[in-house]
Symmetry: C2
Subunit: 219 residues, 2 copies
DNA sequence: GTTCACTAAATTGTTGACAATCCCCTCGAG
DNA sequence: CTCGAGGGGATTGTCAACAATTTAGTGAAC
């Protein structure tokens, strides 16, 4: 392997390396159970082995890689059961964010969300999967942003990184938008109506249904 | 400083060192904002500086220490706002666990919880703070255990480590048991009655009230 | 008296070499 | 043919020395 140094010239710091490996794992460039040999990574990314070591340790804490004593690191493969658990935790956390968002949302932000609702409705009517999926993502992201909950946001992001593989397969499932669109609209309605309890419950129900789909995707 | 090696003879591995530092921070032996000089730690614990480095990186990901480029690591000081956020996330997660516990609890486990309820009532009547606080902790721990949610459990534990300092000061607050005891009893009742929604809501209300106390503890 | 440049100490970041461990493969005995 | 012992190669774990950076303190110029 050649040293395909992303940052030109300079040697790579441990944090940068961790970022690169993280995105590589999340994007699926590094597949589950793939071995991560320290020397190889050091050569490939042009970093010292010590830094590779630190980066792998950090990713191990984040749950993206698995390390075993004297046997090296590999990309962690999350089971269906784990993916369900992760989605349920996300349900609880995003419900919290929806609750806070309902408390804090401004008129401008509400108008923006309602516009997004229209856009998602259109996408479903047109059968535009791509656009709908995009709207889905911005909705979740926007609600987390409005909630202004740093701790919850960080935790959600970490968990999402572990389960992207499952989210991914789910988005393209036929008939899924018909189920999830009403849920999304209910969330938007509750948040815009400044109804924290309803917003939290709607979000929780939505993500629990996602968890159900994942649960039944592998018996 | 002398090398007060906890594990005798053998040199300390990075994971062991991380564990030691974690408990030291959580127990308050290392106070917030205290500098963590790599060489000093290496000498004190009898580990190599490389391992100290890895351990600090891991603890940094866990949110217990703060690292800045070229300026070293220090014990992270969590603000009141952060402690409130952390408690709110815990509220969401423990509510999830309470919900799952209500779904899964067996008759034996229910009997055990009800016995714990009696014990906590007695403790409050006797004015036995210590015993009540202990019951409180075992209640939360037991519910998490019964819920069998690995992901949620791990996340809760990580967050608890960051906020122990606040939990701690709160336990000894006068008049607190009078407020929290009914909440605890409500949780136990709902879980034992196999009522997931009520259990989740009771737990959420309980920890939100804890968050309120923390919020008002520093204006 | 204040400000700026400069030096020196302390500390982190980085590297390469060395030791320990594990896995796989071969080989021989039963 | 199966099983266990042993060796070789690959990989991780450990260490100590070196380079780079930051911080604090000193002194001279204005």
């Amino acid at each position: 392997m050649e040293t395909l140094d992303g940052a030109p010239g300079r040697t790579m710091t441990a944090a940068e390396l961790a970022d690169l490996l993280r995105t590589a794992i999340v994007n699926g460039e590094l597949v589950p159970n793939q071995r991560l040999v320290e020397a190889d990574l050091a050569a490939e990314y042009g970093a010292s082995r010590g830094n590779v070591r630190v980066a792998l340790s950090e990713l191990s804490v984040e749950g993206l890689v698995e390390r075993v004593q004297n046997r090296g690191a590999r990309v962690r493969a999350v089971s269906v059961d784990e993916a369900v658990e992760i989605t349920e935790v996300r349900a609880a956390l995003e419900a919290l964010c929806a609750r806070k968002a309902a408390e804090r949302i401004t008129a401008d932000q509400a108008a923006e969300l309602q516009q997004l609702a229209e856009s998602m409705k259109d996408a479903v009517e047109r059968g535009d999967r791509e656009s709908y999926s995009e709207g889905n993502q911005t909705l979740h992201a926007r609600l987390i942003e409005i909630s202004a909950q740093q701790t919850a946001a960080a935790t959600i992001q970490r968990l999402r990184g572990q389960a992207v593989r499952f989210q991914f397969r789910l988005a393209r499932q036929p008939g899924r938008p018909a189920v999830s669109l009403p849920q999304h609209l209910a969330i938007i309605d509750a948040v815009c109506a400044h109804d924290p309890d309803a917003a939290a419950e709607a979000m929780r129900v939505h993500l629990e249904s996602v968890a159900d789909v994942i649960r039944s995707s592998n018996p």
